[in-house]
Symmetry: C2
Subunit: 317 residues, 2 copies
């Protein structure tokens, strides 16, 4: 798809469920050629011989409208016969894989084995699922999020799924970050001549956004571009996932303000929930523009409305 | 499991459905330590990143009593959500994999990748499925059945499943047969001091039994041991699979007598169906003892009754 180089462009950085919701809203509001979606791949791992990319998959299923809203991950109308049998045969069952979900992992793994890049394979899956614009991995290279805890070092999915985020976190590392390169689509959007804004979605700053920022040159480029972030913390709590628990353990104030200060000088603008309106003045005093609005996205309408407000607001910055 | 070395021993060589039925009967008639089951692995192939062993699986599912009798392959109570989704996502669908069946292939593939031998992995699966005696692969090494046809050379599953045996066969080759070794259990049973008989199950002589015979030293050993075969051809037809079509294409008379002559001097005894009783005299004239009986196995009782008759008859040879 040829990009209109003189059209404004938007780059969304996304982790899991919260990021995917806003990205869905943005995909309704912006023409496909004006939006680049970049997914965290630090969570990706090999399991049962399959390459599993949880954040890419959440984006794919959400954008295709087939995500499992009850579970918060995986596909809707899922069945579990593979998993039941795997258990009966003494296989590993700590990571749940639905029968339908499994097909996506299998195709991806097969195409990667045949030499496709993760970008190519993800674009193929977008095409099959009727998704536009394409979802892009942050990198085609291996980069693994490692969680340091008081009980030792854990691969991300072992921390997140197997241990259910119970261990107390002391830090996060990104294995392979020096040799990994941003994907072509990511790099191209990051340096787009008409980039209106990088939108950091309401995703976990430490394990969803930090891996993206850890890639060589990314943070440096972000510092020269207009960047806005949407707070994943509302009234001191994460709607989903361990962001709030992590902030407490990392001794970062568990508030929208804490998130804003963590991103620091990277930000030109910050979107916070009405419940956190009282932080607005302090944030603005630091030279960061704010948009205070309803940021909880329960329905598709919520997602589109929030995306619309954000895009409109970006154009006033 | 320690073998009683002074007990009589039986070695069953099996391919797919017909072989598995008789093997199930034998497993009811003989104590586990007196029976070694060896499966053809020439059909094994890599597909969607999985190692699939069709003949081992047919034996496992049949011996565990969970085979799909309606389909003639795979597991009973199967669902196809993986396959439906694979198709929708543009994946390869010529080889059908049920959701439950997939779990077995996944565990096997994972354990092979981790360094287990096919024998070890198959024994593990037997244990999980509550099967005794163990099913053994003919070899732990790669050996691939290649079908030569008038349309060119085909990997076995491409001939058998993808092309549904339509191409006219001109010969069969076994890739890797010079470097593959019989598995330890197979070799041990073949040279067992109290071996009563090798039982060639009613399986396809050309693509189920020939791969086993093609392993270094096997045919030579078989020539020195008591060997009986059960005809897979009844009244000029194979109950299942392409054995009859292959015989016609290979210009071998498509009769029980044709099968017996194909095995030739390897045989001490031959089991043929009542429908083929008229061949008995000619076969006996060649010095091969015959058992003429009902060989169609529709029910479990049929399988046990045939196995009992064969074992009793072997003891008169």
């Amino acid at each position: 798809m040829e990009q209109q180089v003189n059209s404004p462009h938007y780059l969304a950085l996304s982790g899991g469920v919260g990021g995917a919701k806003l990205t869905l809203g943005l995909s309704h509001v912006l023409p496909a050629e004006q939006l680049t979606i970049v997914a965290n791949t630090g969570d990706d791992f090999e399991h049962l011989g399959l390459t599993i990319c949880p954040d890419i998959d959440t984006l794919l299923y959400t954008l295709a409208g087939i995500n499992n809203t009850a579970l918060g991950w995986g596909r809707q109308d899922e069945s579990w016969h593979f998993m039941e049998t795997l258990k009966a045969l003494g296989g590993e069952t700590w990571f749940q894989l639905g029968d339908r979900d499994l097909a996506l992992h299998t195709i991806r793994s097969q195409k990667l084995t045949q030499g496709g890049t993760l970008s190519q394979v993800t674009h193929f899956l977008c095409q099959q699922l009727g998704i536009s614009p394409n979802v892009n991995p942050m990198t085609d290279d291996p980069l693994k999020t490692i969680v340091k805890t008081t009980q030792g070092t854990l691969a991300f999915q072992h921390y997140f799924v197997r241990e259910q985020c119970r261990p107390v976190i002391t830090g996060v590392e990104f294995e392979g970050r020096h040799s990994a390169q941003p994907s072509a689509a990511f790099s191209s959007a990051l340096h787009h001549p008409y980039l209106k804004a990088v939108i950091i979605c309401p995703s976990n700053p430490f394990v969803s956004i930090a891996p993206i920022r850890s890639l060589p040159g990314v943070d440096k480029a972000l510092n020269t571009r207009p960047v806005i972030a949407v707070s994943p913390i509302i009234a001191g709590k994460a709607l989903k996932g361990p962001a709030d628990k992590m902030m407490r353990e990392l001794k970062i104030p568990c508030t929208a303000l804490g998130v804003c200060e963590y991103y620091g000088s990277l930000l030109n603008g910050f979107v916070l929930d009405e419940a956190d309106a009282h932080y607005s003045q302090e944030i603005e005093a630091h030279g960061v523009r704010t948009l205070t609005t309803q940021t909880v996205m329960k329905t598709l309408d919520d997602r589109i409305r929030l995306a619309e407000e954000i895009v409109t607001w970006i154009n006033t910055l």
